[in-house]
Amino acid sequence: MIRMTALLGLMIPVAFAPAAHAQRGSDGTLRLIYHQAVSILNPYLSGGTKDIDAASLMLEPLAGFDENGHLVPRLAEAVPTVENGGVAADRRSVTWRLRPDLRWSDGSPVTAEDVVFTHSYCTHPEGACAQLAKFAGVTAVEAVDPLTVRVSFDAPKANPWIAFTGASAPILQKAQFAACLGAAAASCSEQNFAPIGTGPFVVQEFRVNDVATFAANPHYRDPARPAFAEVVLKGGGDAEGAARAVLETGEFDYAWNTLIPPPLQAELTTIGKGNFVTGFGGLVERIVLNLTDPSPDLPEGTRSTPRHPHPILSDLRVRRALSLAIDRGVLADLGYGSAGRPVCNLIPAPAEYASADTSCLTQDLAAAKALLDQAGWQDQDGDGVREKDGRPLALTFQTTVNPIRQDVQALVKSWWSEIGVSVTLRQIDAGVFFGSDPASPDTHQKFYADVQMYASEWDGTDPEPYLAQLTCDRIPGPENQWQAENIGRFCDPAFDAALARLQQSIAPDERAALIRALDTMVTTGQMALLPLVHRGRLSARANSLGGVVAGPWDAELSRAAEWYRIK
């Protein structure tokens, strides 16, 4: 009994620790370092993670995402559901109710008009809003009363919570942005560099691509928060320098996106000044196999289009053999350390959508060789490379210039060589590879190579739009100026049919099952995409910084109101 009391005595200060800091501005300065500096504080004009992160200190959506990808109310009183009457029974509209007494950081009240304005701001016909997809299918946003807003859709929506959720679609203040509609949006630097928000902080000073300072918002809805009086967000340098600034010198409290080589990860954490926080969202590093022929002998405009199926990779057995030859565990360990896990699927999270497929994780070179034999690829001249009908089994493998990717390329090349595949490696500058310039031959959309590797993910938690990128009509080609997302040119009517069912489906369980089935079809089923590593967001946190929850589904700073100094 005495021991019990002693234990309780120990626990009491722990239990009340946050309460001890429960006073706005009591914890001094929060120092953040982003090696990619912040360019603008308006998510509707940027789309860049760093910019959305920084803006989330001021701007808030109606609801955000927690660490499991579930919606949590922010400016809304509650997340509308069918049960609480917020979502209409026919799923063609959703009604949000704002928290009462919400104030902007300039002291004026937040009303439904601000929400209505935000919609017209982003969907203005002369504008170029980066978050336009958030309002796809929205036919009207109306203020029912000063605190209630109704969003109507053109069709029943399985996921009616896309508009105004997450840090990429926050509410803007109508009074501030009223003159910034359409083409004028871009010239409103004053507004874009210091948006008035409802979040825990207000902009003090913003220097483009350098540093931003913020002060606690005097009108923040929780009178005890934020614990920090000031935030300094420094940009520049590189990921390693940022990690060292937190974990080695202790000059900063938090460093964003510090993906550094695993040995250095281990070295820096042993110093004991802090550790890495990792949030695993939807980011998957994958090898995409080109199912069409990229041969330079083909006339321009038909090269890498479905008019010419790939002479080697159209055979499922070859694709399966290439997958079998890869040891994904080794790639994850060597390239990413604690920020990577081997994976077989395109959709590794949230848990309800992730299929538990582990069939690709065991490397089997013998089985790979047997499959290639079966497919008719044999090494007839003894040079170590297989041939069929006089054509060598030779592939070009391209990716961006990036030390980790080059290591992975070398490893994959060695495994593929072992099963008799000759591999030529190419590296392309990321600005060109992802530049989607229709005139460049080196973009990932043009895919003038046999195999390429990169990482991708989707916005929000619902993977339906992400899977919809893999239908036959989303194949990039000259007819759409190479601006489409089905990079591997995968085309399967069964997939398109299942996707159409998913788009009609509303029942959560049925949707989850369909999503898992669609995912399996492209990955371990048809082997059109070879997922390699499920990548987490690796950020560095000083030991003295409390309240940090690694939530990959929303901006990393979107919960900075809850952060405090551990004393």
Partner: protein
């Protein structure tokens, strides 16, 4: 002299126009697109619309003419507005960065102070250090001082700043913690403590740049001194029994400095261009860091404007160097 300067200034106008066209086109034709900065999560149609609105798809000639107008008319007016509170450039489209959607000139103005402080400081300190290095080394060629300084300047010339900067940052800032690893551009010097902070954060980048500059200029000066030392007027000065100090400082150094001043003047534009690597490593976020960041993000208006301003400074500094040369060397003035 005045006519000479006027003529040179007039010639520089067509020169700058040609440079502007070359800069604009070369940067424009470089591979890479600002679309690479738009995340993969944004659908292709939306990306295309964003790019369209930035004006990326307009014909290059049209964008060049627009940019020329902005560089030569709107931006100078905007600068006057900012200085005198007028509104001559109001409503005119200024050169706008594709990264921040804000005016390029404001970014440059924001970054000039730290670039001048760090890169300019490094240049100035380098030039000041070069004087004793060059003089002492030249006086006793092959002597102990000459060899020691020769080794140091050889290291300074041959070790690139991207290596020395990374090394000293790792050793003195990260490992030993004597200096900050990140330069704080918001620091305002108001008292002794903040002055100390400013000196501490400038020490490493300025030191690295000063070493490189002192080495180059010091070696020039040594060579120039050695050319002057055996000349007749120096011998005559010695024969008159002047002290060695006087001989060197009054009769040798001014003559040896003539070519060195030219070298220093010609190198001045590099101060504005910033030190890309050094600025990035120490997170000074000056103009050099802005330039490399803009190149990575394919932010063409920013790249074109910085490179062009750099070209303007090169032309101007060439002119200054020529004028200085004439001023320092009477033979050129009267010849």
């Amino acid at each position: 002299m005045r006519r000479y300067i006027a003529r040179r200034l007039l010639i520089s106008v067509p020169t700058l126009l040609v440079i502007s066209a070359v800069v604009f086109l070369v940067v424009d034709l470089a591979p890479g697109s600002p679309a690479s900065q738009i995340p993969q999560t944004i659908p292709a149609e939306v990306r295309a619309r964003i790019i369209e609105q930035m004006g990326v798809n307009e014909p290059a000639l049209w964008r060049y003419l627009l940019w020329l107008r902005q560089v030569f008319m709107i931006e100078p007016l905007a600068a006057l507005d900012a200085t005198f509170g007028t509104a001559m450039a109001e409503g005119q489209a200024r050169i706008t960065s594709w990264q921040s959607r804000g005016p390029v000139m404001e970014v440059i103005a924001e970054r000039l102070p730290q670039t001048l402080a760090v890169v300019g400081g490094g240049y100035l300190l380098g030039a000041v250090l070069a004087l004793p290095i060059g003089i002492v080394a030249a006086l006793r060629p092959g002597g102990l001082w000459d060899r020691g300084l020769g080794l140091v300047t050889l290291l300074g010339v041959s070790l690139p700043t991207f290596l020395t900067a990374a090394l000293v940052s790792l050793l003195f800032a990260a490992r030993l913690g004597w200096f900050p690893t990140a330069y704080d551009t918001t620091l305002r010097v108001t008292d002794w403590a903040s002055l100390g902070q400013q000196v501490r954060q400038m020490a490493l980048p300025v030191g690295v740049l000063a070493l490189a500059n002192a080495a180059v200029i010091g070696r020039y000066l040594r060579a120039a001194m050695q050319e002057v030392l055996p000349q007749d007027h120096v011998r005559a000065a010695r024969a008159r029994g002047l002290s060695e100090m006087r001989v060197v400082l009054v009769h040798v150094l001014p003559n040896a400095l003539i070519p060195v001043v030219t070298v220093i003047a010609l190198g001045l534009p590099t101060v504005f261009g910033g030190a890309i690597v050094t600025e990035t490593i120490f997170k000074v976020n000056g103009i050099g860091a802005a330039l490399i960041g803009a190149i990575r993000a394919s932010d063409l208006p920013m790249v074109q404007t910085i490179v062009f301003l750099f070209a303007v400074l090169v032309v101007l500094c060439n002119l200054i160097a020529d004028v200085l040369y004439a001023a320092l060397d009477p033979r050129l003035r009267h010849g």
